[in-house]
Symmetry: C2
Subunit: 234 residues, 2 copies
DNA sequence: GCAAAAGTGTTATGATTACACCCATGA
DNA sequence: TCATGGGTGTAATCATAACACTTTTGC
């Protein structure tokens, strides 16, 4: 029987909604993924998901946490969840390696320090990706979009306190379509996903009514409404 | 570094909706899962999911198919899909073993021949289960329920042609709550998930209008409505 | 006062559940 | 003709999207 060694690796798709300088004084939020650029063959110069080999005394989740902590400062990781397994025998050169992918989320204002080979990339314009890492990002994004509808997973992308317009930008970037702040508020309040703090933000340089601040009621992953759906407009 | 060998196994949660003799002449459909009883330690006498060790030249899906074919005659498997990975280091005794679980579905009328140690069990009353196999069944059931709402996955549980009342029984058993045949028809027809064959069944011994026959439009897994939901009554 | 941003109220839409009523068949 | 199961039509419910309008601030 052909039972030679099989390696097992974990790979994390870590997302964050980040502000991007558009024009002179226009900033726009968009969903980014954390990638590092390979310095060596194989797939030199291409971009990879963070992760690495699973050790024998750790489960998958511990392994991802360890590897993310090694490569990047990701103590700010607010959510980590197992996704699919990629098991095609020839998916990477060398010994046969099975990959378990994870979805990781970093809250919006956090700016963890990154090693020089590591960078945030907008998911809408991915650089050349190593191996089968591109479909992994795609898959993770699909799961994130689905879960934003029926869970409180937004807590892991948002600041601890936020105005509704901020939350709208986060949801809209992650979902990939415009979101109405008004309706978002009512949907999330009805489900007790967000709560008013009672305080308000100060209004910006150009005036405007000060925004009420909210926080997520739970900062632990929870299914809030099994059948909910945030639909795109139109 | 503690990189001793790590085994990898695949385990399949195979479901089928089966008729069960209730009272004298009452039959009731309910969701069953395929299990085999362990003859040896560890966990002797307890019931296990079918599966086994992953070989180095196969991907996970091929491995499940092979192992199911070895243990039980499951050429009738209409759907097979990867679920979660269970990776706790001590989840089974002996060498560290990671388990990838699969969801398998067998259409309703099929009655594949089973080895003597293997049997269908109602998911509502599981026997004593080996290792961590009970939560695996639970997880698979949750996924099945979710997917019945927004995909055409019912095709893998239903006969090739069926009356709507039959389909209602299948959905209702799998979902775990009553389903209205009338509404099921309209929901699935609107999405073009099922199609009328044009033929009708003969009415039963106690009369009744002959039922129109339907079939699933596609017999390949497909997401039919991203945002759909079959809700329980009440 | 005016522009800008936030928040409220209300309506429209669409999918799904609920249910009363009509239809076709066998004994 | 009656019981039995099948099918149609229609109303009720509910969640969400859409949008006009009011409120509060800075300049």
């Amino acid at each position: 029987m052909a039972h030679t060694s099989t390696e097992h690796e974990v790979l994390a798709v870590v997302f964050q909604v980040r502000q991007v300088q558009q024009a002179a004084n226009k900033r726009k939020a968009s969903l980014h993924v954390l990638l590092w650029q390979r310095a060596l063959e194989p797939e030199k110069e291409k971009w990879s998901l963070p992760g690495g080999r699973l050790e024998s005394d750790e489960d998958l989740t511990s392994s991802v946490r360890r590897q993310l902590a090694e490569k990047v400062d990701l103590r700010e990781l607010a959510h980590l969840e197992q996704l699919a397994v990629f098991s095609e025998p020839a998916r990477v050169p060398g010994p046969r390696t099975i990959a378990s992918t994870f979805l990781g989320l970093v809250p919006s204002p956090a700016t963890p320090e990154l090693p020089p080979d590591t960078r945030w990339h907008p998911v809408s314009t991915l650089p050349p990706m190593a191996f089968d890492h591109a479909p992994m990002v795609e898959h993770a994004r699909t799961r994130l979009v689905a879960k934003l509808s029926y869970t409180n997973i937004g807590f892991a992308l948002a600041p601890s306190e936020f105005a509704l317009s901020t939350l709208r930008d986060i949801y809209s970037s992650a979902l990939g379509h415009p979101v109405d702040a008004t309706n978002l508020q009512r949907v999330l309040e009805r489900r007790h996903v967000i709560t008013r703090t009672g305080t308000t933000a100060r209004s910006g340089r150009s005036g405007g009514r000060p925004a009420a601040l909210y926080r997520f009621t739970d900062s632990r992953y929870r299914v809030t409404d099994e059948f909910a759906a945030l639909r795109p407009p139109g």
